[in-house]
């Protein structure tokens, strides 16, 4: 492999390039889970001998992975003991103006994101912000987008905020043997957060006002609802008109799906009703659902013999499909979601639009809002079982505030003090904090494994290995050389060009991925040009989180996408400006703070 040279790179390098390119293609074109794709790519690198066994496995024991794992436990404890709940309840208040509301939200969100992982802060505040938006009478989208941006910006301030910060600090440690201080990015991060917050507030008119999807079910007149005719329904054998099921209050019958899947569309008034028919209505959901009561129809995933068999206490709940959900690309009839959870899909809304056809046959997408008929009891069980696939609007999880709330808050503070004064390495500090959370019973011992999001750890671990492969095979050197050849050897220009490329790439790739790919290249350039590597490392750390313009570039954006009923392009309206302003500001601040030559 070493002897095969093409365009200056050996066989191993080309295998690495093909593997990384393969990841992007597979992620974009298929629905294979990200961790599977990343581990598959890692396998390719191991089998082909690009990385050794030790290098391949080293990623999983690296600082970013271990710190993240410990953090999952810490966050679980903070949620469990109500610390985060208390914070979200008490920081928001009742501001009088839109600007006031944005500041009231963005400042605490940024501060919290700096202290904990920014993704968790967004996830935690979404529900509180939606309720708050309702109370203030503004569209949730107007506040959810600033929330996502504020979290990503606040996350720049410490190594703990954004995952990519830890990845870069980890790579820096491996490269130089020097540990980065948790607050190393604080000053530039803080300046950029202030500038960014100002930009978002100045441009707040550009943030689109999108109707909240849970309310669209109540107010919009155009949704499709599916109801089943039980065998003993008196309407069996009558025409739809005779049975009073043709033109109903608030809607009309658009389709009948027979027991043998035969579809009658359009439906003539004289069409007869058979037991087991599925009647598809278009119209106002609340009115149509009244038919269950007035005409003995049922929401059901299986055949119903008698309306008396139906539990009338079942209730309607709305939930939206999260990014990476198992339900994406499937319809309810193709999976066992309904049977497993004892729920029935009644209607689907997609960004305020009606989705044509039988709801249970619709291929679901991320961000779709589902109206589900759920069992009367076990609300939180349903949420816990499906937290990777669905997020319910009426979340039932309310933690108790008590002595453990104070204990876990104290542990968190202690962790900060320890890590800021370098009492112990970050890895040890976070693991100690996680251990203390468990020891003081702030979260449950037996379910620790459940708190840890293994897929994220696997992806992080594999990402670190890709960085090793890029360095080892000479790709980073070649790339670094080529860019220097094209743009000359002025380090300021190289730095600007690299940050521009890295930040644009990170709009489409996760910040962690962009960090791992660009770190070896930029570190190499600093060495080649005989410069201080710090401005390169620091500007990369900051700029890979500038993914404000697309919902897929950052997990924070993905999280608010569904609840805010955003469209794909909504993020670019403010995001592009924010990206440009912060990129320019970042280059200026970093260059002032970190001299190019020491």
């Amino acid at each position: 492999m070493d002897s095969i040279i093409f365009l200056g790179l050996n066989g191993y390098a080309w295998i690495t390039i093909a593997t990384i390119a393969g990841i992007f293609v597979i992620m974009a074109r298929t629905r294979i889970r990200a961790e599977v794709v990343f581990l598959g790519a890692l396998t390719v690198l191991l089998v082909t001998g690009v990385v050794t066994e030790e290098e391949g496995m080293a990623g999983f024991g690296s600082e970013p992975v271990v710190v993240h794992a410990a953090f999952f436990v810490i966050i679980a404890a903070l949620i469990h003991t109500g610390v985060l709940y208390w914070l979200s309840k008490n920081v928001l208040g009742t501001p009088k103006t839109q600007v006031g509301a944005m500041l009231r939200l963005m400042i605490p969100a940024s501060v919290l994101s700096a202290m904990m992982n920014s993704v968790n802060i967004v996830a935690l505040l979404i529900d509180a912000v939606k309720l708050w938006a309702h109370k203030l009478g503004v569209a949730p989208s107007k506040l959810l987008l600033p929330l996502s941006y504020a979290a990503a910006m606040g996350g720049m301030c410490t190594l703990l905020g954004n995952s990519s910060n830890l990845v870069i600090a980890g790579l820096y440690l491996k490269q130089t043997g020097e540990t980065m201080n948790v607050f190393e990015p604080l000053v530039p991060g803080l300046i950029l957060t202030v500038i960014g917050t100002a930009v978002v507030i100045l441009l707040q008119r550009l943030i689109p006002e999108r109707k909240s999807s849970e309310h669209t079910f109540e107010t919009t007149s155009d949704y499709t609802v599916e109801l089943l005719v039980p065998t003993d329904n008196p309407a069996v054998g009558c025409s739809v008109e005779e049975a009073g099921l043709y033109n109903v209050k608030g809607g009309s019958l658009v389709e009948i799906v027979r027991f043998d899947k035969e579809v009658i569309m359009p439906v003539p008034k004289t069409e007869w009703i058979l037991g087991g028919d599925r009647l598809i209505y278009a119209g106002q959901i609340n009115e149509i659902l009244e038919l269950k009561r007035t005409h003995g129809l049922a929401a059901a995933d299986h055949h119903v013999w008698s309306i008396n068999d139906i539990d009338t206490n079942r209730k309607m709940r709305t939930a939206y499909i999260t990014f990476g959900s198992d339900l994406i690309g499937k319809s309810m009839t193709q999976c066992d979601f309904e049977q497993k959870n004892d729920v029935v899909l009644v209607a689907v809304a997609r960004q305020g639009q009606r989705v044509d056809g039988q709801p249970r046959e619709i291929t679901l997408q991320a961000g779709d809002t589902l109206l589900l008929e759920c069992p009367a009891k076990g609300e939180s069980q349903l949420e816990t079982n499906n937290r990777r696939s669905l997020t319910f609007f009426d979340s039932h999880f309310v933690p108790e505030i008590g002595s453990k709330t104070i204990t876990s808050a104290a542990i968190l503070l202690l962790m900060f003090i320890f890590s800021s004064f370098h009492v112990m390495p970050l890895m040890a500090t976070t693991m100690l904090a996680a251990g203390l959370m468990l020891a003081f019973k702030c979260c449950r011992f037996d379910s620790v494994v459940k708190y840890i999001e293994w897929d994220i750890l696997l992806i992080l671990g594999a990402t670190v290995v890709f960085s090793t492969a890029i360095t080892k095979t000479g790709i980073s050197d070649a790339l670094a050389h080529n860019i220097i050849d094209i743009f000359g050897s002025n380090p300021y220009i190289i730095l600007a060009v690299m940050c521009l490329i890295a930040s644009v790439v990170s709009e489409f790739v996760s910040d962690v991925g962009a960090a791992a790919i660009f770190f070896p290249v930029m570190y190499g350039q600093a060495e080649m040009l005989g410069c201080n590597p710090m401005p390169f490392v620091m500007s990369l750390m900051l700029c890979v989180t500038f993914s404000y313009s697309s919902p897929i570039g950052s997990i924070q954006n993905m999280l608010v996408f569904g609840p805010g009923s955003f469209r794909f392009s909504d993020f670019a309206r403010v995001g592009v400006w924010l990206h440009i302003v912060l990129l320019v500001a970042m280059l200026a601040v970093v260059n002032i703070m970190y001299p190019m030559y020491i």
């Binding site: 065998t231 069996v236 054998g237 043998d260 035969e262 007869w272 058979l274 037991g275 087991g276």
Partner: protein, 101 residues
């Protein structure tokens, strides 16, 4: 799909044979048109040789029933195999006709 109509005193029997699926339904509907002319008689669908029935097939039975009732005719269905019985039960058809067996 084969359809045969036999008359014995005041009972008219339609013998259905084969698969009454969506494709066969229009043809069968034409062949049983004579049943629509009857008044005050007993109409029997003999389904002992019927293998399958689709929803459009069921509609033919319902059509005959709806036409016969006001004219004082009775409609019964005999010889259903277990699968067909199941379909009749599920769709609520066994309560509509005078006798279903």
């Amino acid at each position: 799909m084969k359809t045969e109509i036999q008359q014995q005193s005041d009972t008219v029997t339609a013998i259905l044979e084969g698969r009454l699926d969506t494709a066969a339904a229009p043809e069968t509907e034409k062949e049983i048109q004579p049943l629509y002319e009857l008044t005050g008689q007993t109409i029997v669908f003999d389904c002992s040789k019927l293998e399958y029935i689709s929803s459009s097939g069921l509609r033919i039975f319902l059509g005959v029933l709806k036409n016969a009732k006001p004219k004082g005719s009775r409609v019964s269905i005999i010889g259903l195999n277990p699968d067909l019985k199941n379909i009749f039960a599920m769709t609520g058809f066994n309560h509509l006709f005078d006798a279903v067996d």
